[in-house]
């Protein structure tokens, strides 16, 4: 691999400069690989001036992911104009990259004929994904315009559950009989017959089309032509049943550093493959959804910035109603002690402190537990140990904050007993917070729900009620 000056090379664009500086058409991307706002404005202006040739020259070289970003950033009207302008050269790979609401608009503008054509060009997993996002009637209309074999593949893909391996897999793959040599495999690949556009591994199958092993491409390249493919396979093969949950698939890929894995039907026959690039999207989505679920935003779609005001308000409303219920519950707890507050109004001033601290300490535990469950660090083997740990942590911080808060309350109201009361209830509520923070997600998980789902509302119900009750209860008992 010595460097050599012997072969004069034709000038190659951009070996050195970062991507953005190389753009033939001005500066579409900034240094963070994001679209320049100026570029978006330029496209919008050209669209409104109906200068379609200029539009096409501007966007002609965009990567499909950047084209998706561009479509998302344009307003609804400009979006339609752009789709019209590039209809003939529309890259179907743009579709899976779009936010749901924007995709619906783009698909509407494309119309069934062009959409059917686009879907034919996509890999089967992407085509199934896009078709799965359509309304049932639209889907029927669309599939009617597709060739029978494509339609069959898409129908089959849609028959698997939405979060299953079946939805994630693509049918296109390279499988060779176990008696083939490396030479035969390479010749087959060179012949270009039915090979997928992109692949990471060759699957070796037995006579009944059951996967015997996976050979990553670098192993094919390093082997000699007469070597047998079956001798190159990894003895450990991870076979994915078609109904496996996609979170499980993602775990397996991460745990085993896989790039491609075979998906099989019930009789063990090779149906398709799942590749690392699909799994990357699953990992990002699943990890990101926890933060939304914990905050009471239901689905990825609910969190979309492209959703309109009314449906966003509506989707958040339900969670807030539940919250209102728990807020009134906390008020009812306070109501029990209304007489005490009448006698000593300082109680009203101090009562939110314990509840607030409990809520925050509990949320810390909650987030840690939700995260540990997602990465499978927390499991049946260490559950009891972790629970005890949280109780200890709660106790330690409970005593520390009891001292701090008690002293502050004493200084503020010049009442030593008030300090004792707030300190005592602080300890109780911090321990309750630690326990609730770990048991709530574990119980949700055990019940088959997502451990993050509405976890905060359950937690704050506990910490508010315990916080108000112990503080006001202790105060009534000790002070009054």
């Amino acid at each position: 691999m010595a460097s050599a000056e012997t072969t004069p090379l034709p000038p190659q664009p951009g070996a050195l400069k970062p991507r953005s500086a190389r753009r033939a058409v001005g500066e579409a991307l900034d240094e963070h690989f994001e679209l320049e706002p100026g570029f978006v404005d330029e496209v919008a202006a050209a669209l409104r001036a109906d200068d379609r040739d200029f539009v096409r020259s501007l966007v002609g070289e965009l990567h499909y992911a950047d084209m998706a970003d561009l479509l998302e950033r344009l307003d609804s009207e400009d979006r339609k104009l752009l789709v019209d302008a590039i209809r003939d050269s529309f890259n179907p790979d743009v579709l899976p990259e779009l936010a749901a609401e924007v995709r619906d608009e783009v698909m509407d503008t494309l119309g069934f004929e062009d959409l059917a054509y686009a879907l034919r060009e996509l890999d089967s997993d992407d085509a199934v994904y896009v078709a799965g996002k359509l309304d049932p009637e639209e889907r029927v209309q669309l599939l009617a315009r597709m060739p029978p074999d494509t339609r069959k593949l898409i129908d089959l893909g849609l028959s698997y559950a939405e979060t299953s391996a079946g939805r994630l897999m693509q049918r296109e793959l390279v499988a060779v009989p176990n008696y083939w040599t490396v030479g035969e495999t390479i010749d087959y690949l060179r012949s270009g017959r039915k090979t997928p556009e992109k692949f990471y591994a060759v699957f070796v199958v037995d006579a009944r089309h059951r996967p015997m092993g996976v050979v990553e491409l670098h192993r094919v390249l390093k082997a000699k032509r007469p070597d047998h493919m079956r001798d190159l396979i990894d003895p450990e093969i991870d076979v994915i049943p078609v109904d496996m949950d996609r979170e499980e698939v993602a775990y397996l890929f991460r745990q085993r550093d896989l790039t491609a894995a075979p998906v099989v039907d019930k009789s063990g026959r090779l149906l398709g493959q799942i590749t690392i690039d699909d799994v990357v999207d699953v990992i990002e989505e699943e990890a990101g959804q926890d933060i939304l679920r914990m905050a009471g935003v239901r689905a990825e779609q609910d969190a979309s910035l492209y959703r309109n005001v009314m449906s966003t308000a509506q989707s958040r409303f339900i969670w807030l109603v539940i919250n209102l219920g728990t807020a009134f519950l906390a008020s009812a707890v306070i109501g029990v002690f209304e007489g005490s507050i009448e006698k000593l109004s300082a109680l009203a001033v101090l009562m939110p402190i314990c509840a607030s601290m409990g809520g925050n300490a509990g949320t810390q535990t909650l987030a840690t537990v939700i995260r540990s469950l997602a990465t499978r660090e927390l499991n049946a083997g260490n559950m009891v140990r972790v629970m005890w740990k949280e109780v200890f942590v709660g106790s330690i911080n409970g005593f520390l904050f009891a001292a701090i808060t008690g002293a502050a309350a004493f200084l503020w109201f010049n009442d030593i007993l008030l300090g004792v009361v707030i300190g005592g209830s602080m300890i109780v509520n911090m321990i309750a917070a630690g326990l609730a923070g770990i048991t709530i997600p574990l119980m949700l998980d055990k019940m088959g729900a997502d451990p993050a789902d509405s976890a905060v509302v359950f937690l704050t119900t506990v910490t508010d009620c315990v916080g108000f009750f112990t503080f006001l209860g202790l105060a009534t008992w000790i002070l009054l």
Copy 2:
């Protein structure tokens, strides 16, 4: 690829059965690809009985990721016994998979000699990762036991910032001159000289070792031997500067569906490569950290279940101190209206409701914004639009909950004006919550902090203070 019965095959283990059922040594894994608790107990028992041969036969076939899980689940004493028992066959790939605290213990037990040997066997990115987790003195001791060239590579790796592309990259890669043919490349790979254990792509470099393009392996396999490598390169090349932030790297991989990308120094020379399997870990970590940061748990390490009670309590303490400050701030706001509460104790009963609803509505917005910033859906181009949307959503839900809460308060206390007061403050606080939910993460982002960092504490400060102030203020003005 017709299936053929002609070649009788030797029986191949487990073409059909899922991984766990195939284990030679009992059932180490359950159907979720997790270690069976029974298996862990069996290993622990064998360790305590000092039956090292049995231990080795039990764990001998474990995948390195499962071995890491096993080490994590054993208690500290058994962990040491296990490392001792498998010292001679210790797979260094286990190390990067371990939680920080467990890794420290395992490395201590291994000792410098065996650890130095393990690090030599790792890919450079993993070796740098593990070495980077050591104390400075330990690192010096360790590096002194390594061959000079490995030491130099690790030192160089450690010189890059911890979250930079330089730390993520591995030095091992396949680069060929641009004038080589596919045939020459394959022959070079078959010769087995200096090729990495695993690779996804071949880099084509110019005479000055600057990357001109990336050729994914499937393109090498599909091409004919006389084809030139430079004709196979993707015209769009994404070059990663060595100081690029790893979050940026992850974004680029996702956006462009990359499997491998070249990392270059300032003069554009090829330094190493980043591959998709490293990026998967970054994506998982970064997406997962947001939920912890939002809840006030600082680093991935703070959230570790293996951290001891004292240091966990300590790391959470700081966040809770800040919280205590804001809780007292809210109490001070209430204190201003102590006189009003003395006159009408119902105010104390109802006052947490607006604050609580504001906090929850604001957290919904917050989570959505943090998520949109992470996926780069939210940007300068749509910021103003999204802000207005949140104000509208806050207003709509504010009015709805004003009606519900107002009616409930009226029914409870039979006081129409009290209903008006709580309704009015609900509207104000819901709008404030929406605004705070979007501006807080944006401001944190603008200041160079993580948008999730402590966002909840800032948010609840706003919603508590606004909630108590408007409710008690309106009540004082209207009712008293």
